[in-house]
Every structure is written in C-alpha cells, then in structure tokens.
C-alpha cells in the first residue's frame, strides 16, 4: 500500500448540509479523507452518498458547509478547477468522439486556449500542433496502462461495458488529479467482470497513490477495496473506519446489520442488573452497566455460531430447529429458528468440513445445539449503540 503523506489532508468536509425541496439529503456532515487513501462512501440508495460525491466534485452546491481539497477551500471553484476527476456510473463518454478524443478532452481543455479549440480557427494557431502531439503521447501512455491502446480509434458505441469503463477511468486518470471520485463505477458490469475490475481498481489505487473517494451500495466492493469506509444512512455517517473495524467493532446495531452477508441475527435480551443479560433461560455475562430489566439487543454473526464439535463443545449454548441448509460449496448456511420467545430466525455459517463432521456425528438432528463463539457477538443498548463492554472478551472470560 502506498500511502502518500500518511495523515496529510486529502479532502475535508465540514458541516455539509443539502436539501432537495423538503427532503434533507445531507444533514451537517463532517468527514476528513486522508491523502492517498481509498475511502468508500457506503450506504443504501437514497442515503446521500452520491449527493456528497457531487458536492465534492462541485456539481452540486451545498446549502451549508465547506469543502477543502488538499488544504484549500474550493467552495467557490467550478468542478474543473478543483483538481478532481470523476468516473460516472453511466461513464458519460462523449459518444461522437473516439476513445482517443475522449481521453484527450480534459487535456485539450487545460492546455489549449479557447480559440485553439474552435472549429477551423484552431488551425491558425502555430503551437497547437505541438501541444496536441504532447497530449497524444500522454493519452497513449494512459491507454497503454489501462490496456485500451488498441481501441483508441473506436467510438464508445463500439466498445463493451468493461472497455467503456476503462475509457472513463482513463479520462479521469489522464489529468493526474489529486482526488478521484467514483460514482458506482462497477454497477453496469456483469458479475464476473465486476470482480476483475475490482482488483484492477485496488491495484490502480496502490500504483497511483492518489486519494480515491468511491461511492457504492455494495458492501463487498467496499470491504475488498477500501482503506476506510464511511457507512452512511439518511444523510449522516453512521461509522467511519477500516473494513475490519466496521465488521468487528460496529458502532451501532444499524452498522452491524448493514455490514456482513448473510446478515447477523438480532435477538432481544434483557439486562440482569449484574452486568449480564438474559436470553430466554440463558445468562450471558457482559461488563455493561444497564439497570436490571433494560431491553437490549444481542447481535450474533453467522460465524459466531458453532456446533458442539471437539474444542467448540464448551461455551454458552442455544437450542434451535433447522429450517433449511444451503450449500455454497466451501461453506454451508444453516437457516435455523432459535428456541427463544418468538422463535427468532438466525443463520449459521459452517465450513464444509465442519458441516460434514457435524452430520456424521448426528449433530444436525433437531433440536440443534448451537454454541456461541467468543468472536462476532455484540451487545447493543436501547439506543442501538454497541456497549463499550467487549462482548468477545466477556464471553471468553466465562
């Protein structure tokens, strides 16, 4: 990972607010993006992530707040002068121009005077030819880096989705901006290509070392590429952190349910007044301080359930009925109903080997016994915030 300047200033947003009519899309948002990091704005559709990106680009004017890029306030600057480049979801390539023309456009706009861009009149400029030759060399270099140099003479309509995506990327790269903005650039690609381009993007980020701000609703993209993720909902950032932080230490129940697939099971629990919780007849110790009787939520990741095999046999256990078992090849997903009031549903993730062993040992007969592992169990207070008490440690201590 090449990180340029560690904690240096990339993009700073302070107090950004934006409303469309009566709808408050972004509500007093602060965010500091470090220089050189790959920051993903993740969230469900309509959470304001695209609007935020467009505000950074200068395509949208915030109602309040300021945007600073590389330590420089850019609120008054038009998009082209903000030193950012953007890859659009639709790619927004100029359909009447060749790939070479598309890639050259940002450079032509910067290096040629207005009269040198006008039809006919442009040929009067003595230096235009020299400038264009320089631009062409750079265009070729970028096209080669993206492996689209054999497509330079084609028009966008003659390209496949993946090739268009690369051209859009090239048009952003050719200017060497200090920040790349990407608005769901993979959403128009098929599944196989998406995985491929995901690797290429991560690779590109490592090579360029430029700040990437990437918008997506796909947690897989966010988890696999990002240095940090800002999880957004209803115009606010729910949590900002590394993919590991978001997954292992979610700040709230909302974060915990959004991140992770399949989703974690959420069970109703009651505080017992001694730092523990009651889950049906089961008591689990946590170091929390809620008064006795407080309603809490217990989140359990699918991989935090285990079958009582060998070393996993000890630990707090729940009984459950198996509803359905899904084979995903390397692992199995057991859809179960827990033997608790309301019969809450949960998903158990088992490696294929464990599943086979459990079946051989007859552990998949109803009722199942599910042992809770120490990792992936989170306790959330009545306000949805995760309790400071580290559930992993608490469970391990028992």
């Amino acid at each position: 990972m090449t990180e340029r300047g560690g904690g240096a200033e990339g993009v700073r947003l302070s107090g950004i607010a934006k409303a469309f009519g009566a709808t408050q899309v972004i509500d007093g948002l602060d965010l500091a993006v470090r220089a050189g990091e790959f920051l993903t704005l993740l969230g469900p559709s309509g959470c304001g992530k695209s609007t935020l990106l467009r505000i950074i680009a200068g395509l949208e004017r915030p109602d309040r707040g300021t945007v600073a890029i590389a330590g420089r306030t850019v609120d008054h600057l038009p998009p082209a002068e903000r030193d950012v480049a953007m890859v659009f979801q639709s790619y927004a390539l100029y359909p009447h121009m060749t790939v070479a023309g598309n890639l050259a456009t940002p450079l032509e706009m910067r290096r040629l005077a207005l009269f040198e861009r006008l039809p006919l009149v442009k040929h009067l400029s003595p230096r235009r030819r020299r400038v264009m030759r320089g631009i062409l060399a750079e265009v070729c270099a970028v096209a080669e880096a993206l492996r689209i140099d054999h497509l330079l003479e084609r028009k966008p309509a003659q390209l496949s989705g993946g090739q268009r995506q690369r051209v859009a990327l090239g048009r952003a790269m050719v200017r060497r901006p200090s920040v790349f903005l990407m608005d769901e650039p993979l959403s128009n690609l098929d599944a196989a290509l998406r995985v491929e381009v995901r690797h290429e993007l991560a690779d590109l980020h490592a090579r360029l070392g430029t700040t990437f701000i990437y918008v997506t609703h796909d947690q897989l993209e966010a988890m696999t590429m990002s240095s940090r993720i800002a999880l957004m909902d209803r115009g606010r950032i729910l949590q900002l952190g590394t993919p590991e932080q978001l997954y292992d230490r979610p700040a709230s129940l909302a974060v915990a349910t959004f991140i992770g697939s399949p989703s974690l099971a959420v069970l109703e629990a009651v505080a017992d007044g001694a730092g523990g919780i009651r889950l049906g007849s089961l008591r689990l110790p946590f170091g929390h301080r809620f008064a006795s009787g407080t309603r809490l939520s217990l989140g359990i990741r699918p991989e935090a359930f285990a079958l009582p095999l060998g070393p996993e046999a000890d630990g707090p256990a729940l009984s459950a009925r198996l509803a359905r078992a899904e084979n995903l090849g390397a692992e199995w997903h057991l859809h179960v109903r827990l033997d608790l009031p309301g019969e809450p549903a949960a998903i158990v993730r088992l490696p294929a080997a464990e599943y086979a062993a459990a079946r051989a040992a007859g552990l998949l007969e109803d009722p199942l016994t599910l042992v809770l592992r120490s990792r992936g169990v989170h306790l959330f207070g009545p306000d949805g915030a995760r309790t400071a008490a580290d559930s992993a440690r608490a469970l391990a201590a028992e």
């Binding site: 082209a80 659009f88 006008l118 309509a157």
Partner: protein
C-alpha cells in the same frame, strides 16, 4: 411406386404449394389498397408529368402533339423562368440557414428557462399553427407603407417607410423574413426535443473536464449530440423553403416585375393562368431535379459528419 395406384387428382407439389400461394395472395390483397392509392396519387402522376412535359398540351385543347424536348429548351431560354429559379434559390439561401440557426438559438435559450419555458414555447410555436395565407394578409397590413404599425414606428423616429413589398430590392428579403418567422417556431420545437434527449451526465463530465463555458459546452456536447436533429431540421426546412408559394401569391403575385417570382408561382401561372400545361410540366420536372440534387447533396454531406447515438 405401384403403377396400379391411380394418380391423385392434384400433384403433390400443388398441394404443398397451395397454402403458401394462398398466404401470398392474402398478403397481396391486404397490401393492394395502399399500393393502388400510392400508385394513383404519386407514381402515375409523375409518369403523366414526364409524358406531358414532352407535349404542347393546353388545358381544354382537343388535339395535342409531341414536341420532344422543346419545352425544356424553351424553359432554359426563358428569362422569366430563369429569374424565378434564381429567386427561389436566393429565398432558400436566406430562409434555410436563418430558420435553422434561429430555431437552434431560440431552442437553447428557451431550454435554459425553467418556469417560463412553456410560455415561450407557445409564443414561438404560434406562427406554425396559423394559416400562412391568412397571416400573409396580416403581414400586408403590418408592412403597409402608410397604415401599418411598422410605418408608425418608423415615423416616430422621423424615418420614411420603404415599400417592403413593391421595392424590387426589398421584396424577396421581406418574403424571406415572413418565411423565417413561420419556420423558426417549428424548428425550435424539433431542437427542443433533441436537447431534452442529451444526457445530463455528459454536461457534468464536460464540466469536470474543463468544458464549462458556453462555447465549449456547445461545441463538445450540445452541437454534436444534436446532429441527427439538425439534419432532420435542415432537410425539412429546405423542402418548406423550396415550396414557397402562399406569400408570393397573396402579397406580390411575383411582382414587382418578376422580382419576387418563384418557381412554384411561375409553374402556377403557366399551368392555371395561361393553361400551358405541357410547358408547366417541363418546368416542374426541372424543379424536381434541382430539389432532388439538393436533397441528395445535403444528405450526403450530413451523413458523413452526423453521429447517430
């Protein structure tokens, strides 16, 4: 095959072919009305036109004789016809670019409006909905050297009113002005439709690329994306301009001294005032040839440059 078996009444080929033939006949029956009408209204008249153009037929004449290409020879030697041909091309040369460019300009301005947009659309489109013959009479009043509002305005500035419709140098530009007035609204609506199909993303990409000024936005995005619309507008405007007749017939009758005579008016005079149908047919053929050459040249020039999305 056993020779003793009697041959079937119909051979196998007939039986296989029968449903096919029936289907073909049904198809032909359905297509017939349109085909016959098309032939009667468009194809036959053209052949009749060609045939007539080689005769000295006069309306109501009992006898007629073939004259070969004599009518054409006469036409090219006829100063009145040559003048009307030149006038028509001059009229098209004024009306075509002006109506297309003004239509585009108005469309760009109207497109940028948000709340008042539909108001402007209606205002500019009104001339299209009016009957040109009726409107020609209105223009006659507007441009009247003593009674018209134009004269009143010019008088207020102590300027004499030129006689727009009787001054030989002014009459054709005046007619062209009325033609433009009638066409701009129509072209504007077509350009507006074209403008609304340009994706907003492209303008945003252009803004990020640095093409934010009006000139760059227009040259990089708007103009190329309007290519197919522009081609359509240009061809329809050219056809409308070539067909100019109403205003000439109502306002000037080709005068003064043929200064505003256009081809269609000349043909009309020959055919229905002087009853020289054979000669008029020859003029029509010549006019048709000019229009076809013009249209082909236009289509060819456009087709190489226009980008179809």
């Amino acid at each position: 095959m056993d020779a003793a078996v009697p041959l079937p009444r119909e051979s196998i080929t007939t039986r296989v072919l029968r449903p096919q033939r029936r289907r073909a006949l049904t198809g032909a029956a359905f297509a017939a009305p349109a085909t016959i009408l098309l032939a009667l209204i468009h194809v036959v008249p053209i052949f009749v036109l060609f045939a007539l153009s080689a005769t000295d037929y006069e309306l109501g004449a009992i006898a007629t004789r073939a004259v070969g290409l004599a009518n054409y020879e006469r036409a090219f030697a006829d100063p009145a016809f040559r003048r009307s041909l030149a006038n028509t091309f001059l009229y098209v040369a004024i009306v075509l670019p002006a109506s297309v460019l003004l239509g585009l300009l108005v469309a760009l301005l109207v497109h940028a409006r948000t709340r008042s947009r539909s108001l402007y659309e209606v205002i500019y489109f009104l001339p299209v909905t009016s009957t040109l013959i009726a409107m020609a009479t209105v223009w006659q009043f507007v441009l009247h050297p003593t009674l018209g509002p134009v004269a009143a305005v010019l008088r207020a500035f102590d300027r004499a009113t030129p006689s727009f419709l009787t001054e030989p140098a002014l009459v054709l530009p005046t007619l062209a002005f009325i033609g433009i007035w009638q066409l701009v609204g129509f072209n504007m609506v077509l350009f507006l439709a074209g403008l609304s199909t340009i994706p907003r993303d492209l303008y945003e990409a252009a803004a990020l690329d640095g093409a934010a000024g009006a000139v760059d936005r227009f040259l990089r995005v708007t103009w190329p994306m309007l290519g197919p619309t522009t081609m359509f507008v240009t061809v329809t405007s050219a056809i409308t301009a070539f067909k100019v007749f109403d205003t000439v017939a109502v306002l000037t009758q080709g005068g003064p001294m043929g200064a505003s005579s256009v081809v269609l008016y000349a043909i009309y005079l020959e055919a229905f005032q002087y009853f020289h149908l054979g000669y008029a047919a020859a003029l029509t053929v010549i006019f048709l040839a000019f229009v076809i050459v013009f249209a082909l040249a236009q289509a060819f020039a456009f087709d190489r440059r226009v980008h179809y999305a």
